[in-house]
Amino acid sequence: MILNSLLIFFSLAVTVIIMVMDDWRWTIFGLSMCYLIGFILIVQIWPLPLAAVKLISGLMGVILISTGKINFPEQPEEKRSLSFIIFLILVLSISWIVVSATTQKLNEWLPIAYTNLFIGLVILFAGILKFSLGRKVFDVMIGLLVFLSGFDIIYSSLEGSALVTGIYGLIVLSIGILGSYLESNPIREEQE
C-alpha cells in the first residue's frame, strides 16, 4: 500500500519533470524514471527476466536518443516564460484530474491493478501532452516514448508474452534510433 502510494506520487513528479524542465538531460532523466516505475510495477506480475527486458530496452532507447543530442553542438535553447510553465503545469493537472475521475470506471473494464492503471494513464497522458506541445523532433520522440511506456504498463498487466516484449523493445529502440537520426539531420534550406 505504501509502495503503491509512493509510486503514484513518484509518477506524478516524473511527469512534471518531463513536461516542465527546459534542459534535455532532465527530460531524459524523467523518461528513464518512467521505465523504472514500469519495471517496479511489471515485476510484480511478470517473471523478472521479461520485466528486465523492458527496462533494459527502454534505457537503451534513452541512450540512443541522447546520442543525437550529445554528438552535435548544443543549440542555444529558448528560455521558457513563467506563464508557459504555469500553463504546462495546469494542463498536466487537468490530465491528472481526468485520470483520477476515470480510472475507477475504466478499472471495471480493464481488470488490472488500480495502481498500474492509474500510473499507466498518468504517464500516457503526459506523453500525449509532450508530443503535442513540443515543437522539436527531440520533444516529439520523448513524448512518444513516454506515451508508449505508459501504455506498456497497462498492456503488460493485461497480456504477458515474450513476443510482445521483444517487439515492444524493438519499437522503443527503433524510435530511439530514429530520433537520434532525425536530430542529426537538420532541415536544410529549400533548394527550389
Binding site: 516529439v140 513476443l163 537520426y181 536544410r188 533548394q191
Partner: protein, 468 residues
C-alpha cells in the same frame, strides 16, 4: 523448411546483408531484383501445406514458424498476397535500376515487405499492431529525405500510428474472448469503437490524414509513393483479417456502415484537397486517400460483389501509382513538380511521360478504357442499391477531380509559346519502352478485363469466413 522462413525471415536477412553492400548500388539493386524474382518463382513451384494432398509432384513447405512462443503462419491461400507484395517490389526495383535512380527502397523495401507480411502472418493476430508499428518505422526510414531533412510528414505518421496501435491492441485483447465465447452487445460496441479508432488513425481518415500528402511532398518521389502504396494496402488486409477472424465482429452490421461512411469521407476529403493542389507530389498523396476511400466503401458493402470490387480495385491502384511514379521520376529530371504552371507544354518535351501521367490520373477516376473503369462502375452499381447519398457524394467527388485533371491536361498540352523554339524530346528509349509497356497493360486491362482481374480475386481466398 517453412513458408515464413522463406518469405519473411530470409528477405529481412537479405535486406540487412544488402545494407552492407549498399555502396555498390547497382549490384545491390540487381540482387534485390533477382531475390524478389526468386521469391515469386518459389511461390509458383511450391505448395504451402502438409505434404501429400496435391495430386501431382510439388515441393511442400510447412505453413507455420514458431518464434518466442507465438506462430507466424502463411497458408496456400495467402500466396497471391505474398506474390503481389514481392512483384510490386520487383517492378519498382526494376524501374529504379533502369533509370539508375538512387532510392532507399533498395534495400529497405525488402525489410518493409517482410515486416508487413509478418504483421499479416502473426498468430494470434492481435499482435499485428506492434509489427505494423515496426513496419512503419522502416517505412519512415525509406520516406525520410536526407538531402532536404524535412520530416513533418514522417513525424506525423509516427504519431498517428503510435496513437492507433494501443486502440488496435486493446480491441484485439477485448475481442480475443469472442473468438470462442459470445460477446455481449455492449462489449461489441466498445470493441468496435476501439478498433474503429485504431484504423481511422492508421488509414489516414480525415482529420488524421495530413501525414499522407506531407510524406508524398517531402520524400523522394519513388520512396514516398512506394510507402503510400504498400502500407495502406497491408492495413486494409489486416482490417479484413480482423473481420474474418472474429465472428461477432463480422456479423455486426454497424461496422460495415462505418466503413462506408469513413470511405465516403476519405473520397470527399481526398478529392477536395486534391482539386486545390498545385503541387503534383502532394496531389498524389491526396489521390491515395481518395482511392483508399473507394476500397473502404467496397468492403463496407459486405456482399460478394463488394468484396469482388475490392479485389479488382487493387489492380488500378497499383498500376496507376507505378505509372505515376515512373512518369514523375522522368519529368522531375528537368521540371520542378512543385507547381502545375511549371508543366506548361510538357507534352512536347516528354510525350510518353505526359501520356503516362495523364492516363494514370484518369485511371484513378475510372475513365472508360482505363483499368479503373470496370471496378468503379461496379462499385457505383452496388452502392446505388442502398446508399444513394454516398453514391452522390462519390460521383460528385470524382466529377470535380476529373475537371481538375482536365485542367492539368490543358496545361500539359498547351502549345509552346515561341513557335520558332527548337523542341527536343528528352526521354530515352528505355524510358519510352517502360512507359509504353505500363500504358499498354493499363489499357489492355481496361479493354479486356478478363485477363488480369480474375487473378486478383484470389486475394479473397484468405478470408473465406468473410467472403461467402
Amino acid at each position: 523448411m517453412n513458408a515464413p522462413l522463406i518469405w519473411i525471415i530470409l528477405p529481412m536477412l537479405v535486406s540487412i546483408a544488402l545494407l552492407v553492400i549498399r555502396k555498390h548500388y547497382a549490384l545491390a539493386t540487381l540482387i534485390q531484383l533477382a531475390f524478389c524474382g526468386l521469391l515469386v518463382f518459389l511461390l509458383l513451384v511450391t505448395r504451402i501445406e502438409e505434404a501429400g494432398t496435391f495430386p501431382v509432384f510439388a515441393i511442400y513447405i510447412q505453413p507455420a514458424f514458431v518464434f518466442l512462443g507465438r506462430s507466424f503462419i502463411l497458408t496456400e491461400n495467402e500466396k497471391f498476397i505474398i506474390g503481389l507484395f514481392y512483384t510490386i517490389l520487383a517492378i519498382w526495383t526494376l524501374i529504379l535500376f533502369l533509370r539508375n535512380q538512387k532510392s532507399k527502397i533498395i534495400p529497405l523495401g525488402l525489410a518493409l515487405t517482410s515486416l508487413l507480411l509478418a504483421a499479416m502472418a502473426v498468430e494470434p493476430f492481435l499482435y499485428s499492431a506492434l509489427i505494423i508499428e515496426m513496419a512503419l518505422i522502416t517505412g519512415i526510414l525509406i520516406a525520410f529525405d536526407v538531402e532536404s531533412g524535412r520530416h513533418k510528414g514522417i513525424i506525423r505518421a509516427l504519431i498517428y500510428f503510435t496513437l492507433g496501435m494501443p486502440f488496435i491492441l486493446l480491441a484485439g485483447w477485448y475481442l480475443a474472448g469472442g473468438e470462442t465465447s459470445p460477446v455481449n452487445n455492449e462489449q461489441l460496441v466498445q470493441a468496435s469503437l476501439l478498433l474503429g479508432m485504431g484504423f481511422v488513425f492508421w488509414l489516414g481518415v480525415f482529420p488524421f490524414h495530413s501525414w499522407i500528402p506531407l510524406i508524398a511532398e517531402e520524400s523522394e518521389i519513388a520512396d514516398g509513393i512506394y510507402v503510400l502504396s504498400v502500407v495502406p494496402f497491408s492495413i486494409t488486409m489486416i482490417l479484413l483479417k480482423y473481420l474474418n477472424g472474429f465472428v461477432w465482429l463480422r456479423d455486426y452490421q454497424t461496422v460495415y456502415n462505418a466503413l462506408i461512411l469513413l470511405g465516403t469521407v476519405m473520397i470527399l476529403s481526398g478529392a477536395i484537397w486534391s482539386v486545390f493542389q498545385t503541387n503534383l507530389k502532394k496531389m498524389v498523396g491526396y489521390l491515395t486517400i481518395y482511392f483508399s476511400g473507394y476500397i473502404l466503401v467496397a468492403l463496407g458493402l459486405n456482399s460478394s460483389q463488394g468484396y469482388l470490387v475490392f479485389s479488382e480495385l487493387l489492380l488500378p491502384r497499383f498500376l496507376s501509382l507505378t505509372l505515376i511514379m515512373t512518369a514523375m521520376l522522368i519529368i522531375n529530371d528537368q521540371y520542378r513538380l512543385g507547381d502545375f504552371s511549371n508543366l506548361k507544354s510538357l507534352f512536347y518535351r516528354y510525350p510518353f511521360s505526359s501520356a503516362g501521367l495523364l492516363i494514370s490520373l484518369f485511371t484513378l477516376v475510372g475513365m472508360p478504357l482505363t483499368v479503373g473503369f470496370l471496378p468503379m462502375q461496379s462499385l457505383y452499381q452496388a452502392i446505388a442499391r442502398g446508399h444513394l447519398a454516398n453514391l452522390v457524394i462519390m460521383i460528385l467527388s470524382t466529377a470535380i477531380l476529373t475537371l481538375s485533371f482536365l485542367r492539368i491536361f490543358m496545361v500539359i498540352m498547351q502549345p509552346v509559346e515561341d513557335e520558332f523554339e527548337e523542341i527536343t524530346q528528352r526521354e530515352n528509349l528505355v524510358e519510352k519502352i517502360l512507359i509504353t509497356a505500363m500504358i499498354g497493360i493499363n489499357l489492355i486491362s481496361g479493354l479486356l478485363p478478363k485477363i488480369f482481374f480474375p487473378g486478383f480475386t484470389q486475394i479473397l481466398s484468405s478470408f473465406e469466413l468473410l467472403v461467402k
